[in-house]
Amino acid sequence: MAIDLRRFHSTYFEESLEGVAVMEAELLDIERMLQRSGGAQELDAERLNRIFRAAHSIKGGSGTFGFADVAHFAHALESLLDEIRSGRRALDLEVVGLLMRAVDCLRAFLLAARDGAAPPAEAEALRGALERAQTAGRPASSALEPVASTGSGWEIEFHPHERFFHTGNDPLRLLRTLAELGQLVVRADTSRLPAWEQFDPELCYLGWSLTLQKPVARSALDEVFAWVVGDCELQLRPIAAATAPSDPGPKTEEKGATSIRVATAKVDALVDIVGELVITQTMLSQLVEDFTPERLARLRAGVAQLERHTRDLQDAVLGIRMLPIGFVFSRFPRLARDVSAMLGKQVELAISGERTELDKAIIERITDPLTHLVRNAIDHGIETPEERRRAGKPAYGSIRLDAYHKAGNVVIEVSDDGRGLDRQRILAKARALGLVAPEAELEPAQIDELIFMPGFSTAESINDLSGRGVGLDVVRSNIRALGGGVEVSSVPGRGTRFIIRLPLTLAIVDGMSLQVGSEIYILPLAWIAETLRVQPERVSQPAGGPEIISVRGEYLPLLRLDRLFNLPARARELDQGIVVIIEADGRRAGLFVDELLGQQQVVLKSLEPHCARLEGISAATILGDGTVALILDAGSLVRQAYSAASLAAPVALGAAQAAFSTALH
């Protein structure tokens, strides 16, 4: 009888957490409206209904899946919402604050249940507060009914009257519903069964003794039997806690497993393409079956079709991993509210482009850097209301989050209308830290760049928001690790804008295949500045050290891939091979290889977890013939080139850049 519900757990948690997000977003809106109107506010019934529905489904789901404490808490929340909805309880800022805390707690509850952790500590107190708030707005009459059983389950004696079926009831349905609440042991009582010749198929002769091994709320059971109360003998007895161990099983399930919810349209498109592929494949096999040279044109056409479908399939499959950036953006209104309240600032957050889609893996890893930037904007960018008024700006500071597609990339902008970067202070700090030579003159843009230097933070006071010692350098390196970049622009007194560029997906890169000896390596095109053949006289070895190549008056360290990787190269002399100029972290280096084989798109395959990380290699891919080719890590190669060359400063570079490179060593 027991149905294993565990396989539905991940969906339940996902949906419930989405419900929590909905509640939070609506509450934030309500709060903002209340603040604007200065307290009393006409109730927006639809808003409230959405919150109520979310709470209700979470309660329902939690009950169904046996998370009694979550259901219990959600019930208290739902009851208060119901009071407000029916107008018996006024909705004011205080209640919204309480609801917000309750929503936080509900989220913590769900996460704890999902990860098998202990429920949040503040739950009991908060539930009490919810129940008190419920009665506070009206004459204190009815307290909450006792909803939970204190034991570990229920003994149920259920004996329908003979004419049970006549009222349109079905005992099996009731048993099924009960089994959904928790593990159910069913014993049928057949003692009333008459002899065969007296049997009336329209009468109910059976009774049941049921044991529900789950401490569900009494109200949940009452709900199940609500329709049949007059038509049966029913006894409910809680089982004492000691007699049956509670079911610890489901809570530890699915930890760490991630899942994606995909729009049906995307899956349909996938099915369509696969259908096309199958047709093409059939066509091709028939063509090959009895092939004559005259049919070559048709074969070519068929292969071209196959190519097109494969590309479509690739796009569609990658599309499944794409999620709208709104998943990340949706957390920022709450963050802005909390952070600005804590700092005594007034901030309005505007969001656009939340439908822009990005790879799920990027979405997950861009959250922290974005959070950092938004916090920074509120903490450092936006001034206090008085300062803003003095500067002739509206008291409410504005922060914008924009996302859009641009040239095969996704661009995310975080901008504020605050005070802008204080270049004097940044420069002073950089000099104090020794990041910039005392006499060096820097362009404004170069000064702005300094905020991304490791160890750099201009926060006047270390508070628990931004000045945690984790600076913008971490933001930049995290974004770089995703194959993207971040830049800043700022106008003093007018605001600061961070522009983040990200690739659409992490799964595929445009690469250049390089040959060294008998091996093929892939270098992502994004890192290649140019390729050139060099005359040996352009390369020199000053003081017998590492080789340096002169490219249009610029001296760059030259890395020979065959020597670096200990490979037998075919090109012994410089004019036999080719030099690829790679650029990473603002520095350039030459990479000497035998030959360029051409551009191709490659699917990234991680070397980990089966292999250890290797210096100079970022990942691998599988070539058309099934062999593995390694993908070069330009950042690491440039670093190696510079540490091998140990160039104190690359000659003929700007003073500022020189300062950067020395600081990085």
């Binding site: 990787f565 395959k605 070397l607 100079g616 599988i622 390694l630």
Partner: protein
């Protein structure tokens, strides 16, 4: 020695465990069959730069990149050219995959725990850590390998550092 010998392929008791045996430089080795994912012939691999000598490279195993370890080189035995009998035993330990290049696979045998002997302790025995136990099959020594230790990431990393 009064060790009884388990007959090939016939589990004697419920506790017995099956081992895949293979030959390496004239000696028989065994690994638990539960840790063997598949056996395949030698194919060319893609070398990993600046890796220890015994890591021959990586192989595409149906879309997964798997490192290939030459057991002869791992155990500091003489290197021999690969031939038709050379096989790669793909092992899976706790979800981590690796291919082991061995001279040839021999058999699958069942061993009871009481058949297994702890190897003697010698000073300065470099590869002692990979030997889980010893046993006798048909009066011949069979060395049971601790695959877990063998392909352990830390061990590989240490070796890589030593090689660097």
């Amino acid at each position: 020695m009064h060790d009884t010998v388990s007959v090939t392929g016939t589990p004697r008791s419920g506790d017995s465990e099956q081992y895949l045996t293979f030959r390496l430089d004239g000696l028989d080795y065994g690994i638990p069959i539960m840790q063997v994912q598949e056996i395949r012939g030698w194919t060319k691999v893609t070398p990993l730069p600046n890796s220890p000598r015994y890591i021959k490279g990586v192989l595409n195993l149906r879309g997964t990149i798997v490192p290939i370890i030459d057991l002869r080189l791992r155990f500091n035995l003489d290197e021999v050219p690969y031939d038709a009998l050379t096989v790669i035993v793909v092992v899976n330990v706790g979800g981590r995959l690796a291919g082991l290049v061995v001279d040839a696979v021999s058999d699958v045998i069942a061993l009871a725990p009481e058949d297994r002997r702890t190897p003697p302790e010698f000073e300065g025995q470099a590869n002692r850590q990979f030997v889980q136990g010893l046993t006798q099959v048909d009066d011949k020594l069979l060395v049971l390998i601790d695959v877990d230790k063998l392909i352990n990431q830390e061990t590989l990393a240490e070796a890589a550092e030593a090689a660097a």
